[in-house]
């Protein structure tokens, strides 16, 4: 009964997202959001990845940006024309996911006995290490230049009635919906239950036959795999792997804020959180900046540049959430209804 309610939330959220480009087409250009939306949805995928480790299994993970970077760079290396591989788009995205899973498992190996704060520090350190490695392995990663140009999938580039932006939008939305759907199913299987059990009580879970080390390894791998797929999509959308410092600690923190605002451990929550947090950053503030630059001319007050507001808004959002609705906007089943 409550589970059906959660499914409804997810379906409603995805339904609303599906009609955004249609609504958009009747709005004036200044208010259209479709071209800005794909990165937001890609971040929702990162949020889902983080949910696996932090939301479901209760492992505080502060290094998801590293896996986004690994995904982006893997995708870039195997598709970019400066290297001989140039494999098809879909294979590259899947390969990025696999490489992400492998590195996620690698990170989990030394951290299997850690929990809480200690694990957070280790994952944070891992995030920094990955950035440094990408910067210094310049024979492969081109250092701070990033790898470009990168292409999109054929489905986005061929001529069709829909604009490229709209096709990107639906492609990412489809992937997001697919992942959310599969995750929902996994949560209702013994595997997913063992993740939740590990979060509730590690000792009791292991007395039920759950191997905590193996389960943590699996959740880290799945989490990293999803983040890496998101990284590959992002690189493909932006046409460049970007530079290593694009995947810094702030990205990990933003992902964490997203899942906290949406509701830790909730699938629709992670998506909603991403739309709110990243949406404010890359859509609302960007539109506001356009508008302000039209209205006021020549003023150099820093407060008139809305992109400077973003961390203030993030901070404020977190403080307000913790104070008034600490379980998040769309809390998972256990905290709702009681």
């Amino acid at each position: 009964m409550k589970r059906a309610q959660i499914d409804m939330q997810l379906a409603a959220l995805l339904g609303i997202l599906a009609v955004v480009p249609i609504v958009d087409s009747v709005l004036p250009t200044a208010l259209q959001v479709t071209p800005l939306m794909p990165p937001v949805l890609i971040f929702a995928l990162v949020g889902l990845g983080l949910s696996v480790a932090t939301g479901f299994t209760g492992l505080l993970h502060l290094g998801v940006a590293a896996f986004v970077a690994i995904g982006a760079y893997t995708f870039a290396i195997v598709t970019c024309s400066i290297y001989p591989f140039q494999i098809p788009w879909l294979c590259a995205v899947l390969l990025a996911g696999l490489v992400g899973m492998a590195t996620g498992a690698l990170l989990a190996l030394p951290t299997m006995r850690l929990r809480g704060d200690y694990l957070a520090i280790v994952t944070l350190g891992f995030g920094e290490i990955v950035q440094d490695v990408l910067r210094n392995l310049d024979a492969i990663t081109k250092g701070t230049q990033g790898i470009n140009p990168l292409g999109g999938p054929t489905i986005v580039s061929f001529q069709a009635p829909l604009s490229t932006a709209t096709r990107w939008y639906y492609l990412v939305l489809f992937i997001l919906a697919l992942v959310a759907f599969l995750m929902q199913r996994l949560l209702q299987s013994p595997t997913g239950r063992s993740w939740l059990a590990l979060r509730d009580d590690e000792l009791a879970a292991s007395c039920m036959g759950v191997n905590p080390a193996r389960t943590k390894l699996a959740t880290f791998a799945v989490s990293a795999g999803l983040c890496a797929v998101a990284g590959a999509l992002l690189a493909s959308f932006l046409g460049s792997s970007g530079e290593p410092s694009n995947y810094d600690f702030q990205v990990s923190i933003m992902a964490l804020s997203m899942v906290i605002v949406g509701g830790l451990g909730s699938i629709p929550g992670a998506i909603l959180g991403a739309i709110i947090m990243v949406g404010i950053n890359s859509i609302v503030l960007a539109k506001l900046a356009d508008w302000l630059s039209n209205v006021s001319t020549g003023s150099s007050n820093v407060l008139l540049s809305p992109s400077n507001w973003k961390y203030m808004i993030f901070g404020l959002a977190l403080v307000l959430m913790m104070r008034f609705k600490s379980e998040g906007l769309m809390p998972p089943r256990q905290s709702g209804g009681k």
């Binding site: 009964m1 290297y83 001989p84 492969i140 007395c207 039920m208 036959g209 080390a213 009681k338």
Partner: protein, 352 residues
Amino acid sequence: MTVTSNAAPLLALRNVTVQFGGLTAAHDVTLDVTDGQIAAVIGPNGAGKTTVFNCVTGIYAPSSGTIEVRGRDIREPLTWLVLGKSLGIGCIFGLALMLGVNAQILWDASINQLYVYEQQFDWAAAGAAFVSTLRSQDSSLTWGIFIFGSLLAAAGSFTMWQRTRHTPYTAVHRKIARTFQNIRLFRSMSALENVLMGMQSVHRSHVVPALLRTKHFAQQERIRREEARELLDFVGLSDVEHTLASALPYGSQRRLEIARALASKPNLILLDEPAAGMNPSEMAALTALIAKIRDRGTTVLLIEHHMKLVMGISDHITVLEYGEKIAEGPPDAVKQDPKVIAAYLGDTHNDH
């Protein structure tokens, strides 16, 4: 039910000692649990009862002594497969480390120097360049790193295995389940889901069928739910299957823990103070339940402070004091034992 060999007891502790630093929590405890019994461990607070339980379920490792289940060491046996796995992990790690250390040079030689933009790439030449560059490297950077990495990872994974030879999740595969003194239910799950979690060790479930929701998976899940409902019914909780575990009243939480432990189809169930905090009528129901569990074919080993309950249903009682066994035998004999009266019953003559 289970095939019982009369030769070996279901559970046998042989001279088990547990030390935490200088503190000896259990000293030289020898204990047999026979099939089909209700056995009890009693003793004053701090006598080491829960320590013994924790040893059996792999939460602590005994400092000395052995624990046997039907005559076999409770720890996972050391097999060639374990050694092979450790070596395999070692080799993979060593190889990865070696390639990682030489990544830049290898990439430069085999890709950057050979690939001409938008020209056909000669993979054979790249492979040859890769191998020759690797060969021309200083051997300390290739073989040295490989051997170092392999040894490190092999030793690491073997140590890891050794530490997990006897853990709660291996104990449950030896058909030993337990409940906890301070209730440890999965708070965010419903009563039914808690019992489903208890089945984790019996039903192997794979991820892919779960994602595709195959017919077989759906059927398995239905069977699991059916079994879980039967167990809830068995402990008298059939009306609350969808209630969150944390929202249940205290007595029901204790019974839910028992249902969850039974879900792993154990041969032996350890109950750690199942009657703690219960009122007399709840306790009477619990006594009946414990007898029912035994009649079902599950041997029971319990820790309990309520003398009435223990003396009423136990077939065999072991008395611990300061980590040592001071008496054992049937309830009537234990009741008469002067050592026991002095240590335990003597203090609580005006019963509670």
